[in-house]
Amino acid sequence: MPCEMQQRRWEHRYCNMWKSLVAAVALAAAIGSTHAASAVNKDAETRTLIVTEGGSKSDLALAAGETVEFCPNGCFVTLPNGDLEALTGSETVEISGGVARIK
């Protein structure tokens, strides 16, 4: 039913409000869709990941309990156990007990 045909005034008003709400949700969805990979260190000591991104290798040191966002467009990561993994840029690397897991 179009908003103009609503009987009561408040219904009429909230009907229009719904439209703006839908627009806002669409906007939020559009904004919320950019992500990067994130790494969480749940250990009590600093852990290091080696990140290869854009042609250069760099060490990513994670302090105890720290969460870091990195690698927005895909990269290679050397995990603490020596494994080499590729990331697309939407994963979460969780380090606990010296072992990294990709979720």
Partner: protein
Amino acid sequence: MPLPLVSRQQIMLFRLLRLILILALVVSAPPSFDAMAQALGQGAAGLITDQQKVIQGLTAKTDDLEKKIQQDGEDDAALVDIRLQLEDLSRAALTSALAFRSRLTDINNRIEVLGPPPAAGQPQEPDIVTGERQALASEKAEINAVVASAQNLSIRISGLVDKIGNMRSALFRNLLTKRYVLSDALSPEVFSDAHDEYANLYKAVSSWLIFAFKFKFKAILAATFVALGLALVLLVGGRRLFGRVFEADPTVEQPSYLSRLSVAFWSTLLPSLAVSVFLASTVFLFNYYNVLRGDIGVFLNALAAVIAVVFGVNRLTNAALEPRLPNWRLIPVETGPARWLVRLTTAMAVVIGVNYFLSIVNDKMGSPLSLTIARSFGATIIFGVILILMAMLRPFRARDGSWRPWPAWLRYMALALGLFTIAAALLGYIGLAIFVSVQVLVTGTILITSYIGFLSARAIGEEGAFADTSVGRWLSANSSYDDAALDQLGLAVSVAINLMIVLVFLPLILLMWGFQPGDIEAWAYRLATGITVGSVTISVTGILSGIIVFIIGYFLTRWFQGWLDGSVMARGKVDTGVRNSIRLAVGYSGVALAALVGISAAGIDLSNLALVAGALSLGIGFGLQNVVSNFVSGLILLAERPFKVGDWIVAGDVSGTVKKISVRATEIETFQRQSVILPNSNLINNAVGNWTHRNKLGRVDIKVGVAYGSDVKKVHAILTEIARGHPMVLKNPEPFVLFSNFGAAALEFEIRVFLADVMNGNIAQNDIRFAVLEKFNGEHIEIPSMPRAVVEVRKPEAWPTDDDKIEADFVEQEQAKVEAAAEAKKLAKTGRKARKPDPD
């Protein structure tokens, strides 16, 4: 030989396309990688060899591309193409490495289950366990080797991309600084070259035409008609849809800026779109029917692009300058100069377009360098002259009628640019001249468009302007926004437009000036995901999403409130006081919830907030004591409901009706229409009288004194009779007449009557007092009074002598009476109801 002059223009267009692509990418979700899903179904051993092959293939392609970089090192467009291919390869390498993830996870899990190998002193483990561990370790090593090769490939590709970037900037520098020897290019030989080329072109086109008419005549006719039909549908449909805003109405004296803008916009967009659709569909259909042959397709493409651009530029300048209708002009220049400006701009577009088309022809025909140089030379010289002519125009008229030039900075800048182009061309720096002229044209167009955008933003932001737009009219008709709200909305819209212009046009200009899209993308990304200051990360998207979540929560709360109040509780016949309380409570809790969710959505850690709140609470305890106590009192008022909106309450000196109960204070309107804001703690801590708490029943006392010597029994009877006889007085509780006192001057009585609605107290009192006085007069009962002031009565005036004056006065009085009667009638007509007097 392909000349950089040609490719530079193509790259301009190409860059624009790239930007649009990037914008689309930013909006859409990141691409998903299907390789993982595919990999799950494959066997472990097959997986490694498969991916090894994939990576070998990618490496081979990369080798090819590296060779191509060396070969095509002079061609900018080819380099860009190679870069895009390399980026694809890099993504493919990443995807192939991704295929190992699930297998690697399985291996790691298995190794964890098997545990570490036994140390020296410990008992031996079974051989099968050792064997499996070794097998797993070797498989893992193989996988790591493959992933490492993918990583190396991606590093190599990154290096190549960097190299391409360097080569391109070197090419660009070379283009700008390369000097051609004009005396060679502009020799008479050029004319014979040009003639040869023209002959070649003529031959190609005419042979194609003969072929087309002989074998493909029907196809050509069909294609042309279909394309024409499409364009007509678009044009006619557009006219029907936007007809009202499409054409400038010459009868309108002073159209608003916004209507001028919308006319300009639609009258540019629709015809340009129609022409573009016609050209594009013609080319497409010609391709589809295989009408095109050899290089003709390329020529036709270029020709279509040039026609579309020239037509669009002409429409745009016509719409913005409206040489025929001064009222509808967007940029306030005079009529004559407006006509000249349209001509000059169109000429500029034609020059650049023809140059572009000829460059394509030269390229395809493999014409000599001298011809290319001569063509570019001519085009840049003409362009410079047109620019200078534009700068010399005097487009404005002063009050005294004399012509005024452009503002000095604009005039001198255009002059300098025109002279620079001509000078560069004359000195042989053709590449530089072409570059500058294209830059001037494109940047100028972008700047003028954004300037018009700014003007429209300003027009919307003006007071009352937004309410006049169609959106504003729609809003005011369909929602409860009043003028002030619409005005603020207009302001917000104008700010948003300004922001949008900066967001859209700034990257465009940066792009035109040679910044790489990657740079802009990286900046946008950094701005969106967060700037880290110390340990705090401020991210625009975070804050925006927090605000949006809060707004959504707020509207949801309001909607829920309205729904609860308007349909559930109204139909459930809930008492208004309860309704009000529930509505307020729902509102406060909803907004609080929305704020909390919004804060966490903005990425602000709530535990940090708790820390701050803990530190502040001491301060709050001292400083905000009153506010907090009022707030708590407000909550108690909502729960306990000693009074509701509309009640007549007496709190201390204040007596009036309750208008609004909010968290900190309650608004009371006295009967003199004074709003009193009473802090809620006052209403909780002190006694509050409420006349209309459970019901509106109330007692009214009327004192009557009679003279000593009156018949008190008779007085009592009369008073009782009067009290009982009044229609507003309740029968139960019965009215009661109290003989209250032997007063100093009178025997005092008190009529006590109960009314169903104490708000009617004054009416009842008045009626009863009038009745008492009347009855006492009839029964000759005296009401004693204190000594009264003696009023001297004036003697009547003598018989008037001036008849004319009396008559005039009389007429005046009569007229005043008539006017007063008319006024009263008008008031009655407006439907103003006679209002009940206030009870106090």
